[in-house]
Symmetry: C2
Subunit: 154 residues, 2 copies
DNA sequence: CCTATATAGTTAACCAGGTTGTCTATCGTG
DNA sequence: CACGATAGACAACCTGGTTAACTATATAGG
């Protein structure tokens, strides 16, 4: 069956989905029940220095309006906040709140734990080979995902 | 960097997305410009013998209403059709049209070609190891994806 | 100095694909 | 034959996208 080209994409998706599901189960247990898969990516994309709606949209590969809506949501649930830029009053700097940082830190730790589980199951060597192979077959910068909603545009 | 747990899910998603993008570029070139990523999965889930909305929903892990909407779309663009079941007039059997079959056949061939490219790049042995590892870390039946829209519900 | 152009952000209308809840028609069984 | 279960359709709503239009501010040029 490994010669069936249909399986490869399916397994990649399934593996991703499995990891994300496990992450969110654990995140919910640790006090972040209303976080959704993409929020982690978005917070990561905002970065420690903050960003603006236009820039975030550019990073994520969506329109500034879509980025703005996402920021609205993140703000509403307390993971990000908008502040004005004193040097350009058109701009509003989006920053991650302490609660957002907490979610991000926990995500990182949970992902590490999940990776460790994979390593225990497959062996560190095989897992490193897998990661290296995936790195080889995918574009360089993993942040330019165009992810949020690209599967919605399915 | 391979010890950073964040990278694994990202690369899995990116790899999936890359394959799907390449598939659709090629599919568009071969006369199926308006097919969308999930249609292939859905057609696959419908299968050669047809199915019903309820059953399709069960297979894909979505509600029968969502399955019904998807069937509407597939019908509108000519990839599927509804026929009534003579033995149970409540049921409507959804069948793949010849055009739908054409898309499915081409998808299979394109996926095989993409897999061959991976094999050429990584070596057949490494690729088989990768597939086998992914199989080991994901649930058994790849069809029970819960895929359509799960990332929309992101 | 003052006008023209570019940029940041917001709002509105729409779309796709999901959800829940409700309703109708048909099947099948006690 | 009546009643419960099942198939499908419809409506209202949610989320996360899109395009288009508008406001406010910044900046460069004549």
């Amino acid at each position: 069956m490994s010669s069936n080209g249909f399986e490869l994409p399916l397994r990649l998706l399934l593996a991703f989905r499995t990891l994300i599901d496990e992450l969110h189960t654990e995140l919910a247990r640790q006090g972040h029940p209303d976080i959704r898969p993409m929020y982690g990516f978005v917070l990561q994309a905002i970065g420690p220095d903050g960003t603006t709606a236009v820039e975030l949209g550019r990073t994520l590969g969506v329109t500034k309006q879509a980025a703005g809506k996402t920021i609205d949501t993140l703000e509403r649930i307390g993971y990000a906040e908008r502040t004005t830029d004193p040097r350009d009053s058109r701009r509003k700097i989006v920053r991650i709140t302490p609660r957002g940082m907490d979610a991000l830190d926990r995500s990182a730790r949970i992902f590490d734990a999940l990776r460790a589980r994979w390593a225990a199951e497959l062996g560190e060597e095989r897992l490193q080979a897998l990661e290296s192979d995936l790195r080889r077959m995918t574009p360089g910068n993993p942040w330019r995902l165009d992810t949020p909603g690209w599967f919605g545009t399915l």
